[in-house]
């Protein structure tokens, strides 16, 4: 047992830091540090910069344009990324579709999509959830019917993040109603510009437009856009859940958030003294920091185990439960620090220090982290069954 990184790893970390400092645009850094999501153009700009250095998809295998880094390297990369304030752009193409195509895609599918994902040429959105389905994903109703060489898709998807930005959608559709509900599902690639695709914006409680409902009305797509076999889409979806998810605990982001919160509590004067000198507040920060340390080492342990062949499996539920809890707590503490500056809405920096301008919006939207990607309740069920055998 040894807590230290090797000299090579630390050297790697230094190189990453230097590259970021040289290549990260200042306006993106500012938005990232205030917790504001990048718009489409900004995301693509940053994605292409990363791709120019071969860093668009650090988790992909080297053969597909990934980095081939060790677990430690990925960890250090992530740590530097947040330390320098680089945005964590959530590309569904990189995070979700890429691994699916690596495992299940045809050579044609790989050749067509992977390079465009890496270079942020195509924006992919995820069509999983449906109105009324919630955590019961397999009860989905959107139907795809093969007519000649084309699937004809009808139905609706909800919570489609950035569907209004998207060029394409990968989605789960029902191709059969026979057998268990999981058995008739297929994994299909659609074009957002296909006739019959419409997108309805959904404004979230942070007052912003991230989410959408997507309607498919006789949308036609060539059968070559089926990934894996027909009616085997559930296998594809489940594969992603047990696939390594380095970032699920969000340790690096939370470490950076604590550092920023402390700095902010030092410069925020509350009734004559810096907020950090309020013992109650300081203890709350310390408590989260301690909780995060426990999560960080649990994350290390999981990564170490998966590096030596163990699949994270149900343990990743633990990482998600605790990771999102900490993220939400940190957002909550920032709102507490903002005091009355929680009132001004959508007025970045006009009513008070810029740091507080987005604090409440971040807190509000952050509530979603315990809902999507398998709610906290579902994660508990998964652990109860998968680890405890209950």
């Amino acid at each position: 047992m040894n807590i230290d990184f090797t000299a090579e790893e630390l050297q790697f970390k230094e190189e990453v830091r230097e590259w970021f400092n040289a290549n990260l645009p200042a306006d993106l850094k500012r938005k990232s540090e205030l917790g504001i999501a990048l718009n489409k153009e900004e995301t693509q700009t940053w994605g292409k910069i990363l791709n120019s250095n071969g860093w668009a998809a650090i988790n992909w295998p080297k053969e597909y344009g990934g980095t081939g880094w060790s677990v430690s390297q990925k960890h250090l990369f992530d740590e530097v990324r947040v330390e320098v304030g680089a945005p964590n752009i959530m590309s569904m193409g990189v995070a979700m579709l890429g691994p699916v195509l690596h495992a299940f895609g045809t050579d044609e599918q790989k050749a067509e999509h992977l390079p465009r994902i890496l270079n942020y040429d195509d924006w992919w959105c995820q069509g999983y959830s449906e109105p009324g389905a919630g955590s019961d994903l397999a009860s989905l109703k959107t139907a795809a019917k093969l007519e000649g060489d084309e699937y004809v898709v009808n139905g609706s998807k909800i919570w489609t993040t950035y569907a209004h930005y998207a060029d394409k959608m990968f989605c789960l559709v029902r191709t059969s109603t026979e057998g268990r509900k999981q058995e008739g599902i297929s994994f299909l690639l659609l074009d957002m510009n296909d006739p019959g695709m419409t997108v309805r914006p959904i404004v979230s409680i942070d007052g912003e437009h991230h989410l959408n409902q997507t309607f498919m009305d006789d949308v036609r797509t060539h059968k070559s856009n089926l990934v894996h076999e027909e009616n085997k889409g559930w296998t594809v979806a489940k594969y992603l859940l047990t696939h390594e998810r380095t970032g699920i605990a969000g340790v690096a982001g939370s470490k950076a958030a604590i550092a920023k919160l402390k700095a902010l509590a030092k410069k925020t004067i509350v009734d004559g003294k810096p907020a950090i000198e309020n013992e109650q507040f300081a203890m709350k920060i310390a408590q989260v920091e301690v909780d995060l340390k426990a999560l960080e080492y649990t994350n290390f342990r999981t990564l170490a185990a998966s590096a030596t062949g163990g699949a994270p499996g149900a343990e990743s539920s633990l990482l998600k439960i605790k990771g999102t809890q900490i993220q939400q707590l940190l957002a909550e503490l920032k709102v507490e620090l903002a005091g009355y500056l929680a009132y001004p809405w959508g007025t970045l920096g006009e009513a008070g220090p810029e740091d507080f301008g987005h604090a409440v919006a971040s807190y509000n939207f952050g509530r979603a982290s315990t809902i999507y990607g398998g709610s906290t309740e579902v994660q508990y069920n998964v652990m109860s069954k998968g680890i405890l055998g209950l």
């Binding site: 979230s204 009734d271 109650q280 005091g339 500056l341």
Partner: protein, 376 residues
């Protein structure tokens, strides 16, 4: 010890509750949100005509002489629908400030009567960028004497300020920045020279502003240097009122969630059949009931002659309800899942409303500490 409402109070409660249930539904509120004021002047006039604005104000000022209990009844109902009209700012805060401040009776009486009639809107400006929740931490200065003072400095997050006709402003006439003595209250015209607003929407759907005073002309309210006790009492009354508002909002959020889990199906059954959700709904229910107890307690305690008794009661209620309100708000969103995250459903609005409650007139920690200091 008596927890029953008088006959008049029962009637008031029924009429306010009925209005809220019938006329202040979510869709109607959304329409009001689209107006520039973000509240309805028509409804405000209607509240005045129904006598709601003067209900808890003294008869000698044109009110109906009700107690804090009447105020509680209105506030809970208003909170249950997140009513946008400036009842808290103008009636609970400004009118009480006028009544409690010493000084010229004629001037005060006229202003309070106008408020009760629905003809005058006043907001109280007390918070500053570095004051935290300490009402004695005042850096806005007032110079002058007699009828002529001028204010300099900045107040932040003055609720309903963009629609207000006047402001009541705490300013320092003597002493150090955190001294309780030397704080005075002033009346300032909204359109006076040297009064400048930076206005914005607020998260709960209202409007607010930061206000800078640049040699703004002001009239002293009450005795110079003795404004702290008045302001402290006003904020205590207002704190009790927002506790009642929060109770109303918590109860609605709880009821919505209870209805939701009874009807929403997943895995082929209503999610209300899951024991974990059942117990969490019980927790929400207990949070609402315990908060109701605290709202009753604090409303009855406001009448106390002992200022420290009043302060301890107020701080205990606010310290208790902050975490309970946050829990109910967070649970309502979490249990609703995706739809709870959207602007389209009212649950998310209650979440925001209750989030603001936690940090208004003192955070949980602030009030817990104030309570501990008063009761050790």
């Amino acid at each position: 010890m008596d927890f029953s409402l008088s006959e008049e109070q029962q009637l008031i409660k029924e009429s306010v509750d009925k209005f809220i249930a019938k006329d202040y539904v979510f869709e109607n509120r959304n329409k009001i949100l689209e107006t520039e004021d973000r509240f309805s002047r028509d409804l405000w006039k209607q509240y005045a005509e129904l006598g709601w604005l003067g209900m808890a104000l003294p008869e000698e000022y044109g009110g109906f002489g009700g107690s804090a209990v009447e105020n509680m009844l209105v506030s809970e109902a208003f909170g249950s629908a997140m009513v946008l009209e400036p009842y808290l700012s103008t009636v609970v805060m400004a009118a009480n400030a006028l009544v409690l401040a010493g000084g010229s009776e004629d001037q005060k009486k006229e202003l309070v009567e106008q408020i009760i009639a629905g003809d005058l809107l006043i907001s109280v400006a007390y918070a500053e960028a570095e004051s935290g929740y300490n009402l004695a931490n005042v850096s806005v200065t007032a110079n002058g004497s007699g009828d002529s003072y001028s204010l300099n400095g900045e107040k932040i997050v003055v609720l309903n300020a963009p629609s207000a006709d006047k402001f009541i402003v705490s300013a320092r006439t003597s002493g150090e920045q955190s001294d309780q003595s030397g704080v005075s209250l002033f009346l300032v015209d909204a359109n006076a020279t040297g009064v400048e607003l930076t206005s914005y929407n607020t998260m709960d759907g209202g409007r607010g502003a930061n206000i800078t005073f640049n040699n703004a002309s002001a009239t002293l309210l009450g005795a110079e240097g003795e404004g702290f006790e008045v302001l402290d009492q006003v904020i205590d009354i207002a704190t009790a009122a927002i506790c009642a508002q929060a109770l109303g909002a918590m109860n609605t959020a709880f009821q919505r969630t209870l209805e939701y889990i009874k009807t929403r199906e997943q895995f082929g059954v209503p999610i209300g059949t899951f024991q974990v959700l059942q117990h969490r709904l019980v927790d929400m229910f207990m949070a609402v009931e315990a908060s109701r107890s605290m709202v009753y307690m604090v409303s009855m305690s406001l009448a106390s002659d002992d200022a420290n008794e009043r302060r301890a009661a107020v701080s205990s209620a606010k310290a208790f309800m902050g975490p309970e309100a946050r829990k109910v708000a967070q649970e309502a969103v979490q249990i609703h899942g995706g739809v709870g995250m959207t602007e389209e459903l009212d649950v998310g609005h209650y979440f925001r409303y209750l989030t603001l409650f936690c940090g208004t007139f003192g955070s949980t920690d602030y009030h817990l500490k104030r309570f501990a200091e008063l009761t050790q």
